[in-house]
């Protein structure tokens, strides 16, 4: 049993069986698969496993040490919780893509070399895109496409960095990198896009709120935290990260205050929380790195809990804007309770998980004498309470009565939220077990009288600010609107660019690329389609009907992709470039 497969593969290959199961068996299987992953991870011991020799190059699928294990545990645990939350989902492809995405994240954090890391990195990008598309709305398809393009760009930066790095050092082992030259900068930026560094962050609040009620919970857990892991592995103590992280904690909370879509509010606060982790990596002391890992662990739980509670609201009411909600506590009391636990945890209320993890990073900044950073982190702590701690539960469940009286969330959703809420409080009350899995020995006591009273004051007086602003009517009213972010540059900016260069680009597009595309893609596709048609008509039984449904779904998505817009076609070109680079990379390794 021990070490028989890389942990990622249980979810990735296991998910492929989902379409063949029905009813109760399928539900049991959906819970069993992540449960098996959790059990398997806890049975693993430190070491290097699953080396695969290709040519004279070694792929390492399992670098198991304290840093990767801590992330592995929480990734597996959250997959289990969200799987329970997703039991009502009928769409098989949605679940498969979500499981492959979670498996990809496990693969990435256990990867010991750059090639394995890159492969799982790309698996995550593509499967996450499908998770976004699963909402099957036009908005989701467009946002997913933008998500994919941003992440393909990030993947190219990473790949370019890896190639230059290999040429310079002759090694592809993924260890400490540090910002030295071009290679390291490219890798850094590739990681940074997934970590939602400021300016590069817009994909996150753009895409995450558009997925399904369950898809968004999956998304909230993996991409940014995998990026946190690789930054902690490759760039600990990089001073620049302190400033990047501090900006990340501060700017999103301004957006969160004026944002109307509550899942988008949570997306901005996600960036704010990842900012704490990035700052911790930048400080680079044992305390701060422990804080980063602990905070990632707790954050995944309470952020998922918050997204699950908002998902339950969306599932029951079909609405997610603050302007449309309010007063739901009357008919959804348990969801309200779980949401409040999540809100308390993200705010760092004593006896919840956020209190015992976030404070390690803030203390590390203070011990390092970084006054400005410390002030920024404190501001962010107060601010996150303001928008995630108060605004989310207040506008969804209290505030003005919307008149909506939806049913309480389904039982499996309540179980999943209950599990997450239980863990948030358990970690807050007994931080010992969490501290024991951190990378370095922990010599930190969160529950000192002064720390408890300071944090309580910070939160209580932030709540006072909210109360006073509400009572005086100064608090900005919720307005149906959207708020521009840096995605404007590729949403509106590219359109201007396309109009500007329409004549030149169009000619190249139609005369050269169009023809090449016709020969290289469309004709073979047609042939394959004909072949499939023959196959399909030859055996019209249940199995083929199932397959046909699946391929229809895919072709529907393909149809959506064929929008006729130049920048969508550019994406296909990028895919081509990636495969070209891949081929080059392989020949270059030989």
């Amino acid at each position: 049993m021990n070490n028989f497969t890389p942990p990622a593969l249980i979810l990735i290959f296991g998910s492929l069986l989902i379409p063949f199961l029905r009813g109760r068996t399928r539900q049991v299987y959906l819970v069993l698969l992540p449960l098996l992953t959790v059990a398997y991870l806890f049975s693993l011991s430190e070491g290097i496993y699953w080396k695969l020799k290709i040519l004279d190059y070694e792929l390492i699928f399992g670098r198991i040490d304290r840093l990767s294990l801590a992330f592995g545990y929480i990734f597996a645990i959250i997959t289990l919780i969200v799987s329970i939350y997703s039991l009502h989902v009928k769409d098989n492809l949605h679940l498969i893509s979500a499981f492959i995405y979670a498996g990809g994240a496990l693969g990435a954090i256990f990867a010991g070399d750059f090639i394995t890391l890159f492969v799982f990195w790309e698996i995550m990008a593509f499967s996450a895109t499908y998770v976004i598309w699963s909402a099957k709305t036009k908005k989701a398809v467009n946002a997913g496409m933008r998500y994919l393009m941003v992440h393909i760009f990030g993947g190219l930066l990473l790949l370019g960095g890896i190639m230059v790095y290999y040429k310079e050092t002759g090694s592809l082992v993924f260890n400490y990198i540090g910002l030295k030259g071009l290679a390291e900068w490219l890798i850094f930026l590739g990681f940074g896009i997934n970590a939602a560094f400021p300016i590069l962050h817009a994909w996150l609040p753009d895409a995450y709120p558009e997925s399904t009620e369950t898809g968004t919970v999956f998304l909230s857990a993996f991409t940014t935290k995998t990026a946190v892991y690789v930054l902690a592995r490759g760039f600990p103590g990089t001073e620049l990260l302190i400033y990047i992280g501090a900006i990340m904690t501060a700017f999103p909370i301004f957006y969160a205050v004026i944002e109307n879509n509550l899942r988008r509010v949570l997306s901005y606060s996600l960036i704010n929380q990842v900012g704490f982790m990035v700052t911790g990596i930048g400080i680079g002391t044992q305390l701060s790195l422990n804080g980063t890992v602990a905070h990632a662990f707790c954050h995944i739980l309470y952020k998922a809990l918050l997204f699950m509670s908002m998902g339950a609201v969306l599932y029951r009411t079909g609405k997610i804007n603050a302007t449309d909600l309010g007063g739901l506590y009357k008919s959804m009391p348990l969801t309200t309770l779980f949401c409040i636990v999540g809100a308390a945890s993200i705010s760092g209320v004593p006896l919840t998980s956020g209190f015992v993890s976030k404070s390690m990073i803030v203390s590390a900044a203070a011990e390092g004498g970084m006054l400005l950073i410390w002030i920024a982190l404190l501001f962010a702590s107060a601010g996150v309470f303001h928008h995630s701690g108060i605004k989310i539960p207040f506008f969804a469940f209290f505030s003005h009565d919307s008149g909506l009286r939806p049913k309480e969330a389904p039982i499996h959703m309540l179980v999943a939220m209950g599990l997450a809420a239980f863990m948030c409080i358990a970690i807050g009350v007994l931080p010992g077990p969490l501290y024991s899995i951190l990378p370095y020995p922990v010599d930190y006591e969160p529950y000192t009288p002064s720390h408890v009273i300071d944090q309580t004051q910070l939160l209580a007086f932030s709540a006072l600010a909210f109360t006073l602003l509400m009572l005086s009517g100064i608090y900005p009213p919720e307005i149906r609107c959207i708020n521009l972010d840096t995605d404007w540059f590729y949403r509106k900016g590219t359109r201007l660019f396309v109009t500007f260069s329409h004549n030149v680009l169009a000619k190249i597009e139609y005369n050269i690329i169009g023809q090449a595309y016709e020969y290289a893609v469309i004709k073979p596709l047609l042939k394959i389609a004909n072949f499939l048609k023959i196959l399909d008509s030859s055996g019209i039984d249940g199995t083929y009907n199932g397959m046909a449904k699946g391929s229809m779904k895919i072709s529907n998505i393909l149809k959506e992709i064929q929008t006729g817009r130049a920048h969508d076609y550019a994406f296909i070109m990028i895919l081509g470039i990636i495969s070209m680079i891949f081929i080059m990379l392989i020949s270059f390794l030989i």
């Binding site: 467009n142 004026i258 303001h386 002064s450 004051q457 007086f461 006072l464 609107c481 959207i482 972010d485």
Partner: protein, 78 residues
């Protein structure tokens, strides 16, 4: 009638909340602080900071950020 009752309930909650804040300020006086920068050891520094920070946050978001970035919901034509 019911709205009056609500107001009464809200008033009671607010009164309890204000008393809680006062208690926090009083307790704070008796707790030994380990300060890092000097000023963070002052009594109720954290409370004062939280209050000011959040009011500034909301004012800046409302009067600076919103006029800059707010657009109609169909701005991107989707």
């Amino acid at each position: 009638m019911s709205s009056k009752k609500m107001d009464k309930g809200l008033k009671r909650i607010l009164t309890i909340f204000y008393i809680f804040l006062l208690v926090l300020i009083v307790i704070d006086l008796f707790i030994h602080k380990h300060d890092f920068f000097g000023f963070d050891g002052y009594p109720s520094f954290y409370g004062a900071y939280g209050l000011v920070a959040c009011i500034l946050l909301v004012l800046v978001a409302k009067y600076v950020l919103r006029p800059l970035v707010m657009r109609r919901e169909d701005y991107y034509n989707e």
